[in-house]
Symmetry: D2
Subunit: 316 residues, 4 copies
């Protein structure tokens, strides 16, 4: 079998790669995402795909495209992608016309979940939920060894399950979504608030930015927590506890064998996961009498989407 | 093909029936559930099954048994069933030995979901969630035309997703489960509280019981609401609104095409569903740009479990 | 006795008046609040006071000044006033130097509460809480016939009692303050959200603005609710219910005989108060065995502060 | 001046004492509270008072009686006292008739607050709130050096301010009262839940009872926490954090200079107060620009009520 190409279109960059059927990346390419309309973005994707195909000098079986928004059940049409300002884009038809290759389009959380399931932390599992903890919360679901898309392609919006009635307003227009409590943005918000209250304890954390609570950024919290800053450690515990609550709800509904935690915040590892695991174990319904899901850190990180998209392209 | 037998073991009665492959019940039998150990209960089930098999005078292909508790992935073993005080019961082996027929054991929410999917309100759907609103909240999930059990047989515990952090204590040992807000018990609690505050308005409702708020029962609330009692109507709206919130969370994660609402409270129909539907539509993430799930009332009611269990028995 | 002068410094305008000992306003003056520092604002206040004093041709006993921020126990010093960007302003000393008149400085909620207590809806009460429902929530407390200031002049910040743990962020830097749920801003937020979901029902409401949910303003909600728009009526009920919860908490702690509801939203009268009163009556601890506070609409409205400040000036 | 007698009628015992005008107890007496009607209880109180008066051989100026329920504004009539099953009891008239001494009747939280204000941890303060953390939460308020009773004698029910909308049901008939989160009962509930989840860590705590989480009692939690049991320490932190939230709300409304924390749980001292103080300081509105209330532990403990009641008897 030949190679397939996976493409992950993010809000700031396009990441593409030619991938073997074993999930090995043989060649990658990267571009800044243009601030123009969907046609221009897909033209650039076509250019990258064509370039990759020419470089690797091997037949390309197909292209898998991951986009940050819900995709219809035929994996052709992007309903909307807020970060790209796309609405109702027939991405498959456009990209097939431009490249002459077969294309499947898929939600970005879904391709990442598939990548981790096939070649990453989820290898060997049956029912897996990927939870990506980045600025927001995304995810994807693999059930019985198949990517689960829902009836209309919109399944897996796990960041928008409600955590707090009448809670913090969410970018989605509603209130109290778990994304407002268990994400990287929440981590920074909590760290800033704690640092403002307890400046002397937050010396390490504050020293990494401009010295003010408002100057604290996500990477500072991780670095400070690793160095033992008690305020940064506590911010991770607060966010990890909310994450664990979210996982307990997912487990009540889906009962997966594995939760894979990805996204930028997941590099903090046990700083985040210890409190998430403790909370999951204390909030899991019927815990004493049933097996519990395992929590793992994602292995493929930024490449999960690319690798998953490439693999789904074979599976038309 | 012959008949199969479905059995639904509830806390108070055992309901069994011989069912055609088209879901038609040709003969039923019913017993009070004995207050003794699992062996005695299963002996009685075996007696009922044998009696039904003899009566219908047709070959029986198998037996499907629904039990109110999680069942292992091989559909043999009941982890625990609190209403029956069962723990770790090898129900399949015991019942196969006693009847000589092939048996599958399944969670009661799962068999009811399968029954509605195959022969009830969910016919023709692909991804369906059954939500049974009885004294508590149960349910079952059918995805891609297959019953979804989760990795350990414990999926579909939708009544125990969290609705309110630090909320009302639940029988499961945790706090704030949606079951405490959107169930028949919640309906009675709300109706009693409203009736205590606003007695003059609750004249119809109070007249159906002993005249006191404490005497209000679930059937009174439904009857009074149908007769226009404003307090009973409001109690349904409160509970329906919570139900809609729960459905919105399920839709964010699972994106089904149909929610089927069953259980004793579902006979109230639009009294419950109007506010649930309104809330689902206002809380569904990305509503304007995606199709929404439909809410339907269950059609098979008490027989959904029996019919679903019988059908699953063919499907070993 | 002569007249006294009351001054209410708001974020957009300065309102001043010469007032008799019976609370009658004999002459008023008004200026836009300058966007400059505290000294410039107080110079303008001095100018207005001097002009009023000259015009009325009667001895002026003193000046009472209301400012939107906490004032120290000696009624001299403004700790901070966010709308005016004041911090640590010795307002009494500055204004006494500029006018040659005795001055008392007081929080704006306090002077309004005193005005309503002496000459408005609270006449004859003993323990009164004024709740001003404007863009935010403010208030003042009169206990045993005396203005209650607290140990440090910061009592009466009733808009910042917590209503929802981990709730909507507040301008004060914390989360879930009752001000985020029971204020005019909350009314507009709820009305917009309901109008976006149920456009056909919100025809009257939408017709008063630019036709979009985002174009809905506070005055539109009141006007539409009066005309029977169901969405506007529901927005008032939601906000009134939260207001009633806040009043129930205040009653548990303070047990006043009267709540006076003022602020711009209070002109809606029973649209707001019916659900507030119903909620207070259902949430008041020990209701059946104790007298309950009465809820009244403020009578002096915009002039409550001016009149109250003038009266407090006599009472040094 | 002579002595006065203070009496504290609790659900299980009657505690009485003869007290000097400096708050010194010269003689005490104690009886079990009879399980009979109000007349029998007050007869026993009269007997104790007469005995004390005879023993001390000094003129008695009056009797102050503390009862666990709201008392009318004339300090004569007990509206209701749930622990004693009293309803509408004219306690003052009955006790004056039986003893021939002048009597004042007062709420138990009020007399304790007055005792701590005059002779305990609140000496020298102006505005004080006593928060008694026992099985539930009670309290009393002293403002401007006077006991604050509210318009109907029902002020100071601070345990029944709402902490969580739709939260844990309270004995008062409503949901989510702070008493359900920051009391001794909450401490035991949290300790049991944590011990059930994390038995190995709770070794000290479990060893103090019968070895099971259900066997954990309040005194065990305090003793185990002092011995370093991490589960017991965490239970105190959870409850102390809720207590701090409650204090922040009281401070927003009342701005006292001192919070005195009494009740059985307060003997744990900093185990409870460290997290309460940290939370108050982080949740106090306008913290950076205003003085904050101080948190102190009660000094008079069980005798606060007796001493306060005796002192109020002088102050008719």
């Amino acid at each position: 079998m030949g190679l397939s190409i996976g493409v992950d279109i993010g809000g700031t960059k396009i990441l593409a790669g030619a991938v073997t059927e074993d999930g090995e990346i043989v060649k990658t390419a990267r571009r800044d995402t243009p601030h123009s309309d969907a046609t221009a973005v897909l033209d650039l994707v076509a250019e990258v795909v064509t370039e990759l195909a020419r470089t690797v000098d091997t037949p390309i079986d197909g292209v898998g495209l991951g986009v940050a928004g819900p995709v219809d059940a035929s994996r052709s049409h992007v309903y909307f992608a807020p970060n790209l300002r796309w609405s109702q884009v027939p991405a498959r038809a456009l990209l097939e016309a431009a490249t002459g290759l077969p294309v499947v389009v898929e939600n970005d959380g879904n391709v990442a979940a598939w990548g981790e399931y096939r070649f990453g932390a989820g290898r060997g599992s049956g029912d897996l939920v990927l939870v990506t903890v980045g600025t927001g919360i995304g995810g994807g679901i693999v059930l019985g060894g198949r990517l689960f898309r829902g009836a209309h392609g919109a399944a897996g919006e796990i960041g928008h399950a409600n955590a707090v009635p009448n809670g913090i307003p969410c970018g989605c227009g509603r209130n109290g979504c778990i994304e407002q409590y268990a994400s990287g943005n929440a981590l920074v918000r909590e760290a800033r608030a704690l640092a403002a209250e307890r400046r002397p304890e937050a010396a390490i954390l504050l020293s990494l930015g401009d010295g003010t609570p408002e100057g604290v950024q996500g990477v500072h919290v991780t670095e400070a927590a690793r160095a033992g800053d008690p305020v940064a450690v506590e911010a991770f515990e607060i966010v990890g506890t909310w994450l664990g609550r979210g996982l307990a709800d997912l487990a009540a509904i889906l009962d997966p064998d594995v939760f894979v935690i990805g996204g930028g915040v997941s590099v903090a590892g046990e700083l985040l996961l210890a409190s998430a695991r403790r909370t999951l174990n204390s909030k899991l319904v019927g815990l004493a009498t049933r097996p519990a899901p395992v929590i793992k850190v994602a292995e493929l990180l930024n490449e999960a989407g690319l690798v998953g998209a490439a693999d789904l392209a074979r599976d038309r």
